[in-house]
Amino acid sequence: MFYREAGDFNTSYPEDSQTFPIKFDRWRYYAVLFVAIFVIPFLINDYWVNSIFLPFLIYSIAAIGLNILVGYCGQVSLGTGGFMAVGAYACYKLMTSFPDLSMVVHVLLAGGITAGVGVLFGLPSLRIKGFYLAVATLAAQFFLVWLFNRVPWFYNYSASGQISAPERTFLGVNITGSNTDAWATYLFCLFFVILSAYIARNLTRGSVGRKWMAIRDMDIAAEIIGVNPLRAKLTAFAVSSFFVGISGALFFSVYLGAVEVGEAFGITKSFLVLFMIIIGGLGSIFGSFAGAAFLVLLPVALKIIGVDWLGWPTDIVAHLQLVVVGALIIIFLIAEPHGLAQLWRVAKEKLRLWPFPH
């Protein structure tokens, strides 16, 4: 592999602070984008989209959101499932109340509403920290699920208590409902993934990102350089919840189609997304993708290897999956808190110097 930065000089500050300062990285990034937009849509079928691509894309958005709060701003949250539910129910209410508005608007508005709810539940973060904040967000998780279960207005008084997405089109193509094409739902979600990653990257490299990281690293020192702790934390809650809300809206409307809140957005969802950013890498956008990919692919891979090749019983494989994830969480927390993203950086560093390591 020819991974080189020689002859590749950044001569201005904007060039030096761009996302991929090394030309090779930049090209690989464009290549990935090209394949994602122009190649994959022609190759995928329903199986690939439903078992891998949609969950990967949607969880990536949630992971980016949670990573902003936990990885960049240092505020632990166990309420991700609850906030995804807010996005889902906001999207449902918007879709049924304003059927003529574009789905893109619905999803973005759902993100906005979730941002507002996130700010509300973020208010205690000024006073409580660490473990206690985690417990408070856990309470938010249970409260939100309870709320969507108990108040019939949220599910339009449907007999089942579920919400289901009506059929909606975007540019004349079905993206929700039962008659969707794999490529269409994929591209619709991909659009939001690219948007989220772009915004998250820009926010984390500029002044607001530094405020978040300052709060994360040492809140007293952050105050002494003029960071208003409450403002910084609340913007982190808002931006984080915005992304989590978008992912919840997509998860419900495009991916599942119909949702029972406790099942789809329960506490296990909160842990799943948290595990994604721990394994992928706290404080890294790339890590959010890596973690989402890993935890989406793991059950699929285990099923293929365990059930299809080795012929093990399904429940054993399901348990094995829990064991593997648990072990990995412990390993990453102890040995590499910066996750897969850091392993990738180290590998690149080695490659950059290869074959002359000194």
Binding site: Y13, L203, G226
Partner: protein, 274 residues
């Protein structure tokens, strides 16, 4: 002649201009439960000067700095800044008014590089909103570049170019102290507060730090209030000195005046006994 009696602007022997009073502490009293950490202390800080606060351990020096930067609210007394009494303020509001500081125990952002740490010092100057930052191209990028230029100038000035991209956690103690100074300087403060900038340093590092403090004051005209434990260092560095002991002010004047003050001599001799 007593320089401190001068109420108008004057020029020091080495040619620096000292202006009028920029900050004044008026009858500050600070208590922690039964402990009186600061007892009815008044002193002023003049524009462009290097003002030292000295005294034995536990004298209340750090507490005084914490009153100035808004961490502690005194039970009695007022802080006057730029000619007006200052209402009670949070530390971040004090910072936004142009008062930067370093801590006795280093308070850097360990998860960030040296450059990012220095860039955080620019935050009070960066006003672009969330939306413009999301888009980045245009306003946010331009603001980033302008502030990056200031940060890089400070980095050059303090001779830490070589470690710009190093994570702060990997630096030795002496360099961390310098990075913390860089972060405070990056704010281009009106007043710079330094809490024991030379504590725990070897002789060579102390000399470097003294030189930087003098250069900062000389080059940028920054008003500096610094705490030092060590009489010797202070005498070379400062224009005027406040001496504290057990929360009381026992001396205030030029280094020469303070050196010959009987109370000060007693306090320092007293300390060396125990």
């Amino acid at each position: 002649m007593r320089v401190t009696d001068m109420t108008t602007e004057y020029t020091t022997a080495d040619g620096r201009r000292i202006g009028g009073t920029v900050m004044e502490m008026k009858n500050i009293t600070l208590r922690f439960g039964g402990v009186e950490a600061i007892k009815n202390i008044s002193f002023d800080i003049r524009e462009g000067e290097i003002r030292a606060i000295i005294g034995p351990n536990g004298a209340g020096k750090s507490s005084m700095l914490n009153v100035i930067s808004g961490f502690y609210v005194p039970q009695d007394g007022e802080v006057w800044y730029k000619g007006a009494p200052r209402p009670p303020m949070k530390p971040f509001e004090v910072a936004q008014q142009g008062i930067a500081r370093t801590f006795q125990n280093i308070a850097l952002f360990e998860g960030m590089s040296v450059l990012d740490n220095v860039m955080t010092g620019r935050l009070t100057h960066m006003k672009t909103g969330l939306f413009a930052q999301s888009i980045w191209k245009g306003k946010a990028e331009q603001e980033e570049t302008e502030n990056r230029e200031v940060a890089e100038r400070i980095i050059d000035f303090l001779e830490i170019q070589a470690i710009r991209k190093t994570p702060v956690a990997r630096l030795p103690y002496g360099l961390k102290k310098r990075v913390e100074l860089a972060r405070a300087l990056a704010a281009e403060p009106t007043i710079l507060l330094l809490d024991e900038p030379m504590a725990g340093m070897n002789v060579e590092e102390k000399e470097d730090m003294s030189r930087f403090i003098l250069d900062v004051n000389d080059e940028f005209g920054t008003t500096i209030a610094l705490i030092e434990h060590d009489m010797g260092v202070v005498m070379d560095l400062s224009d005027r000195v406040v001496v504290m002991d057990y929360g009381k002010k026992i001396g205030d004047g030029t280094p020469d005046e303070v050196r010959n003050n009987q109370d000060v001599i007693d306090a320092y001799l007293g300390v060396s006994h125990d």
